[in-house]
């Protein structure tokens, strides 16, 4: 299997190099998306299926669509690189040296690894059997809450900046049956991921991103729900995730005297409830980050 890893690494680096050097926008974004898929494969090889799910859904899917939207508006690359050829070589040497030092620093370590036994010991008390969900939603739930706050602030920022709405090209009539199959399947997959998040790879982020993918398919097919009220509802839903999580944290403190300390015995119910609301809010947020607010485009 080591041959698989070596070829995957070479392919990955080649794809990333293409993404960063090709001057044609579509080519570089296509290479970036393929690099995202290969990176998700390397997460699978590194025994991190949850991260692979998130990378495939958020990294390749949503980020690729975001880049395409911006490239469509900003237009081709103008102007050459910053310095001449010599500056580029100097930068390459410097970056090469830095990455070699990085490799030495990281590969050389064989430090203690206290986390796995700790997680294994407390997994029973966390209410879920998937260790990553236990860490995300129970042991280090405060990190996850702040991460949802990052999403909410990014949403408020994008709504404030108000990029002009995206106008996909007319794609003809075959798109309707396509969307009619892909969107329900995406919702099914999202539900499946959310439910099994407690026991197997899955969870709120992956489910939310797949749901957002489904919504994007609708928007791209031109039959997405447009209109001021729909966007306003999506904005409220996007912000509601953070409010629900903070509310749950304070309620937990009310019940058990510990901030973010879920009541004993009911941890799984609390975690599933929080994850369900997060899934909807993440899906709404990612959708709005793509479409932006429906308002008069700025001068």
């Amino acid at each position: 299997m080591i041959a698989f890893d070596i070829v995957l690494t070479l392919g990955l680096l080649a794809c990333a190099a293409m993404a960063l050097t090709l001057r044609d926008r579509t080519a570089s974004i296509a290479a970036f998306v393929v690099a995202g898929l290969l990176i998700a494969l390397s997460w699978v090889r590194l025994a991190a299926p949850d991260v692979a799910l998130a990378e495939a859904a958020i990294g390749a899917g949503v980020t690729g669509a975001l880049f395409l939207r911006s490239a469509r508006r900003i237009g081709p690359i103008t102007g050459g690189p910053v310095g001449g050829m010599s500056a580029s070589i100097a930068a390459a040497l410097g970056a090469g040296g830095l990455s070699a030092a990085l490799f030495w620093a990281f590969a050389g370590t064989s430090g203690p690894v206290p986390y796995p036994p700790l997680v294994a010991a407390n997994l029973e008390a966390s209410g879920v059997t998937n260790p990553v969900t236990a860490v995300l939603l129970n042991f280090r739930a405060w990190d996850t809450l702040l991460e949802i706050a990052v999403l909410a602030v990014a949403l408020a920022l994008v709504v404030m900046l108000g990029p002009a709405p995206v106008v996909p090209r007319a794609l003809g009539e075959l798109v309707l049956p396509f969307a009619r199959i892909v969107v329900p399947l995406a919702i099914l997959v999202a539900g499946h991921l959310l439910w099994q998040g407690a026991t197997a790879p899955g969870g709120a982020f992956q489910a939310g991103a797949v749901l957002a993918g489904g919504m994007l398919a609708l928007v791209l097919a031109g039959i997405g729900p447009a209109g001021e009220r729909i966007v306003r509802g999506a904005l409220l839903l996007g912000l509601a995730g953070l409010a629900v999580f903070v509310g749950a944290a304070l309620a937990a403190e009310g019940l058990t005297g510990r901030f973010l300390g879920y009541p004993a015995g009911a941890e799984k119910a609390w975690i599933i409830a929080i994850e369900a609301s997060l899934t909807l809010s993440i899906a709404a947020t990612l959708c709005l980050l793509f479409t932006g607010p429906v308002r008069r485009p700025h001068q």
Binding site: I2, V82, F106, P116, L136
Partner: protein, 93 residues
Amino acid sequence: MTTDLVYHVAGAGLTGLALWRLATCRDALRRIMALNVLAIGIAMVLLASGFDAATGRTDPVPQAFALTGIVVLVSVTAALLALAERIGGRSND
């Protein structure tokens, strides 16, 4: 040559590639893409050092860090792209 060494090389390579691109390009979109590649490189190095070759399993806590990193990265990328669109993509810093 176990698996995590290979992915240490991959992570360090991605980081070096991204730093080189950040140093030599002016276009806003490519800078944002380079920052994405840099963040992915760091996550790969983090997870590779959490991978235990003997048991074939990875420590769940760095997995949680990588997940948080991915979500943070997509929000900051969306904000950067919205800004880049408003200034028309010519960031001559």
